[in-house]
Symmetry: C2
Subunit: 426 residues, 2 copies
């Protein structure tokens, strides 16, 4: 006898019944169609990887949340994100791949997190990445693809906005300032300041000052950093940056390109966006519902040094991840979840075992023409068959009784109108 807990999906994971899976397939089809239109190619990597691949260059949070275990002398983990696996794949064929690469994935990832609205321990994620292009033209393509997806699912009217910053800008500014002497503190600083919205300014200052931490600023310096994160206009950020800032010039160019895509009015510069992963190096961005009620719809950025840190060549890269959970919450909030029918065309029923071979032949003929056909297996009382077919959304029921069989016909009922007719069986 089973303990009840065994008979439920583990907490934070999901069963997909037919209606859930139809919705998931609908969303994935949009992910794939947008990717196809932008000329991206789909790839995939193992769900189980060596744990080291994920712990080497990630921020502390992702390491704490890793599903990992030792087995046969290997330290294995479920992938918490796709980027390290994709980096591994790029590196393995670095010499043979035509750059820039445009790759996308639609895959499941796992993180052992505390659960709140829009947060589970697994989710599916659409990733698009460009490898081998250093310019912000790549960022512009990716942001345009995100908006193309949002438009396809009915969220093209400003219900989602993208907040965008540049770690390169923050890095330039801090290395001309408080990190002048300790540039290596920049990455751990990013992991801390990413938590600003979650833990508040005081806690961030505390962690930046922690004498046992990797950053170790003075109180004044820590408060200066938090002040920088409050800048919301690109002009103000430019004023705080060193003169002739390359990062500022790139951000200005990016906004020009976004205007050409017709999406610049839905993108805001926001200096508080830094992202939690250690490996980002340039533009970083997050998309949120305009009311800021939900977690990020998607997020991404540039990670030009990741391949080098894995021991590979320097290939610049930029990408994003777009989950299936928050977007579904948002679509539900806006009444935009589609009502997706099962798509059954025909129900074929033999009234009596003697008619079954003829019913099978008919069902097979209809299937060969591309129709979705349910062959009734058990209870063949016509009343129950018709009611079930109606509930299942079928268009047509084909009834094969002894009388029809004797005349070489089948009785066809159109469920929408109730009209019936006989059709020749062969």
């Amino acid at each position: 006898m089973a303990r009840p807990s065994d008979l439920q999906a583990p907490r934070g994971t999901r069963d997909f019944y037919p209606e859930d899976l139809r919705l998931r397939s609908w969303l994935f089809a949009h992910f794939r169609e947008v990717s196809r239109r932008f000329g991206f190619e789909e790839v995939d990597a193992p769900v189980v990887e060596h744990a080291e691949l994920f712990t080497r260059k990630a921020g502390e949070e992702i390491v704490e949340q890793l599903y990992h275990w030792e087995m046969h002398d290997r330290h294995l983990a479920l992938r918490p994100e796709m980027t390290p696996s994709i980096a591994r794949m790029v590196m393995a064929r670095a010499g043979a791949l035509r750059l820039p690469l445009r790759w996308f994935t639609v895959t499941q990832n796992w993180r052992y997190e505390r659960m709140t609205r829009g947060r589970k321990r697994e989710h599916f994620q659409w990733n698009m990445d460009v490898w081998g292009e250093p310019g912000v033209g790549a960022e512009a393509e990716l942001l345009a693809a995100i908006f193309a997806l949002l438009e396809r699912v009915g969220l093209g009217g400003g219900q989602v906005r993208i907040q965008l910053n540049s770690r390169a800008l923050l890095e330039e500014t801090l290395r001309a300032g408080v990190l002048r002497e300790r540039p290596e503190a920049f990455e751990p600083l990013c992991v801390i300041v990413d938590k600003l919205a979650k833990i508040g300014a005081d806690a961030v200052v505390e962690q930046l000052r922690d004498p046992a931490g990797a950053v170790r600023l003075s109180a004044d310096e820590a408060r200066d950093v938090v002040g920088l994160l409050g800048v919301t206009g690109l002009d103000d950020a430019a004023a705080a940056a060193p003169p002739g800032s390359h990062a500022v010039a790139e951000l200005r160019r990016l906004f020009e390109l976004l205007a050409a895509y017709g999406v610049a009015d839905r993108v805001d510069f926001d200096a508080s966006v830094v992202r939690g992963l250690a490996y980002y190096t340039g533009v970083v961005f997050e998309a949120y519902d305009a009311d800021r009620k939900l977690r990020a719809v998607c997020g991404g950025g540039r990670y030009d040094r990741l391949l080098e840190t894995l021991g590979g060549p320097r290939i610049p890269a930029v990408g994003f991840g777009f989950g299936d959970v928050v977007i579904a919450e948002l679509l539900a909030d806006h009444g935009l979840l589609p009502a997706l029918a099962r798509g059954l065309d025909d129900v074929v029923c033999a009234l009596g075992e003697a008619q079954r071979p003829a019913a099978i032949a008919l069902a097979q003929r209809l299937r060969a023409s591309g129709r979705s056909v349910e062959l009734v297996l058990g209870d063949t009382r016509p009343k129950r068959v018709l009611a079930d077919a109606d509930k299942a959304g079928a268009a047509r029921v084909w009834l094969l009784g002894p009388d029809e069989a004797a005349r070489g016909v089948v009785r066809v009922r159109e469920l929408a109108t109730g009209a019936e007719r006989d059709e020749a069986l062969s």
Copy 2:
């Protein structure tokens, strides 16, 4: 610096580069299309389940091969097969689901196995299951769906045959004979005799006699059992079965139905097929390449008591699993792996930064019409762009230089013919 082993996919797992993923998507699309035509609905369950779900009713081999670990006081496992998860889902909604259910899945499963040809530590598997139908009409539908898939991928000419048996027949025969006094030994007996082809008759006899095992036959009894497994005709099997055997009648009815589907000539009765999982109760089957060079292409059977053993109601069920690895080997052996192009339609290139906004607008317009469009990001030398577009299989290249922009046109080159023309930009 990384250790090299971290930078490879774990042994027995696969990276899917674009060409690999195109093949996988092609196969999955066939799985889904056949399922749709047969009126089946897609479902999914978590990759990570409570380990107990898989160890309770499985044979010993699957328990040894489980990827499992303890974490936060939970014993978790990667699913080695879909059936227990689907059973859990059916049980959770047993009262509300319209029976018979026709469900299918296309999912990834994991087993820590020794690796040989056609065997990895993960594979994708197509499952189709019918829940709530006790008659062999369900088996016939499933076998017909397998042949429909084989026909779609070019293997409709007898390159694959199905070997079929009935555990109910074996059970009836043994319970009237050597297991008269100990019917509970039937399930462990099946797990042992499933290994006949792998370990040979002597080793099977040895295990059936093992005084520390669950079966404990005498030497004569064990040899009788192995003898029964050698029967290849249904008439011979019927002669060995108790008079008035229900299982024999069902098998005869199944072959009649298979004839109506036009597939009976590709299905053989074979008493040695018992399948390795403990939970099967009735018809069991496996598909093999006609030359028997590869592992089973697919396998399945009836498991009418599984839901009861999980503490749920008694709902009869039958299903199969069809992996992605062996079928790919077989298609390769027959030269039937399709050459799948990337499907890129257009390449759009701005010759100079000033033309980029116009190139973006053009690319977006082509994408909005449904075309797959690569916007050139980096190196824009026309010669390289044309060579790359040709290699990528694009149909058309759109070049936007300063001269064209001044005239409000774009230069279009058809790559198949080399023909060029100017087209108005707006």
